[in-house]
Assembly symmetry: C2
């Protein structure tokens, strides 16, 4: 996902250093490229430890794609202050980036550049590319790889306020993985009524079998406020007997169930 | 929240047409103004029927504020294509807005302006204000009120792709409301362990008392990926005997419980 120089490209390289990479301009474009067979696998962000879920990816999995999650990986996210070579810190009057890294570096920016104008861009790579068109007083927040790609100088490294900044990426493909013994299964489901205890009933299926839920999340149905689609990550593979039993039991309670796939559980990445 | 001409200003006027309004540049600034007694109440968006939760508001309530939710209201969200007076549809080459309305109007923009450049701004009001600095080929997506305030012409109304576009706003204050008989209570909680069935145990307290959960949501703790703070909206007032019992029971199971307040349940707004 994204032009070269985004965090998703870093994740794709970490996932498969030998692969050939194709850049897609958006999360739906990544899914379309996999669905149309233009690429074998697509890497998109799904969750950040500070910001929460990447709702574009969740909504794609729920509404707009039948792709499977084949793999997950967790990567530390470091933001860097970049500028055209020759720019000094004291020169900077304008700072470009995507609203998310601007927010993640708010403490650094407020302390060091209290009077700088913050300008939103559509991606961190676009912000770094923007530097070429700017005069020498502009900086951007982006990856080290973007600095390399767009010929920018690195003025400050790791400027994020909270060091616990990691993003979980998923690899989308037309099939998921056979069991490895340490897997996770992602599903979503909804109800066609709004009665007390419906979600509780589903969670009971998992709890009574001793299955740990790694994540419970809700997304709007997009039809009416207050009606939700629930997303659950359960530890285990969808072919494990216990997980299979829980999925069979819950099927009778929900109006929609979609299994996004089973895949090896990521080891948390070193910071 | 936001400069004049944002949806939050519309919500503030709908909530109390007689009030004096003060604009704050961000969601944390609204909370600070209420906490410092500069204003009595603050209006911020908390959830959109298409995009889901406004995570800034959730994280403020969880981590950075002891304010109460005193009221909620639900407002239809209409996006409009605005430009400097005299601009014709055929002239438009650049369209400014916040990334969210740009995404919400993607169908309209793709069909009518397949070649226009989309430019991100920090708010819809900022996008409309931006028109003053632009040449005649620019348009912005924003509210009718912003058109009025910044002297822009309305080229097309209600250009959002999905008509089920409503936003829920909450009114923050230093206290919540006494029971009205049709209330809702918002809480958040977390666990200091990651064992199967912990969330299930809490939901059991509510389910066994027949209390309906209007919403279940999770947010990152910001300390470690995979650890969450759960947010629940339960129907009823925190002083209702059943809600009180459930809250007392769950206190023994969680490591942190914060009650954001009880307030009258909003009637869904007409579209």
């Amino acid at each position: 996902m994204g032009p070269a120089g985004t965090f998703s490209e870093e994740a794709a390289i970490a996932y498969d250093p030998q692969a050939q990479y194709a850049a897609c301009p958006s999360i739906p474009a990544v899914a379309a490229a996999v669905e149309q067979g233009k690429v074998d696998e697509g890497v998109v962000p799904i969750e950040n430890s500070l910001e929460g879920s990447v709702t574009f990816t969740l909504d794609l999995l729920i509404h707009d794609s039948n792709l499977f999650i084949r793999h997950e990986l967790v990567l530390p996210i470091h933001n860097n202050l970049l500028a055209r070579p020759g720019t000094r810190l004291g020169d900077i009057r304008v700072i470009h980036s995507h609203p998310q890294p601007l927010a993640q570096c708010r403490g650094f920016l407020t302390e060091r550049f209290p009077n700088a104008e913050l300008v939103a861009s559509l991606s961190t790579a676009a912000a770094v590319e923007q530097l070429k068109k700017s005069d020498a007083r502009a900086a951007a927040i982006g990856t080290l790889r973007a600095a390399e790609l767009y010929g920018a100088a690195v003025l400050a490294r790791n400027i994020e306020d909270n060091p616990n900044n990691v993003t979980r990426f998923v690899v989308l493909a037309t099939s998921d993985r056979p069991p490895t013994g340490a897997d996770k299964t992602s599903i979503c489901f909804s109800f066609d009524a709004d009665r007390p205890g419906l979600l509780y009933g589903v969670m009971k299926c998992f709890a009574e079998l001793g299955l740990n839920l790694a994540k419970v999340e809700s997304r709007p149905t997009k039809q009416s406020l207050g009606r939700y689609i629930f997303l659950i990550d359960v530890e285990g593979h969808r072919e494990d007997p216990k997980v299979k039993t829980a999925l069979d039991q819950m099927k009778r309670q929900v109006s929609m169930l979609k299994v996004f796939g089973s895949y090896p559980k990521a080891k948390p990445s070193a910071q």
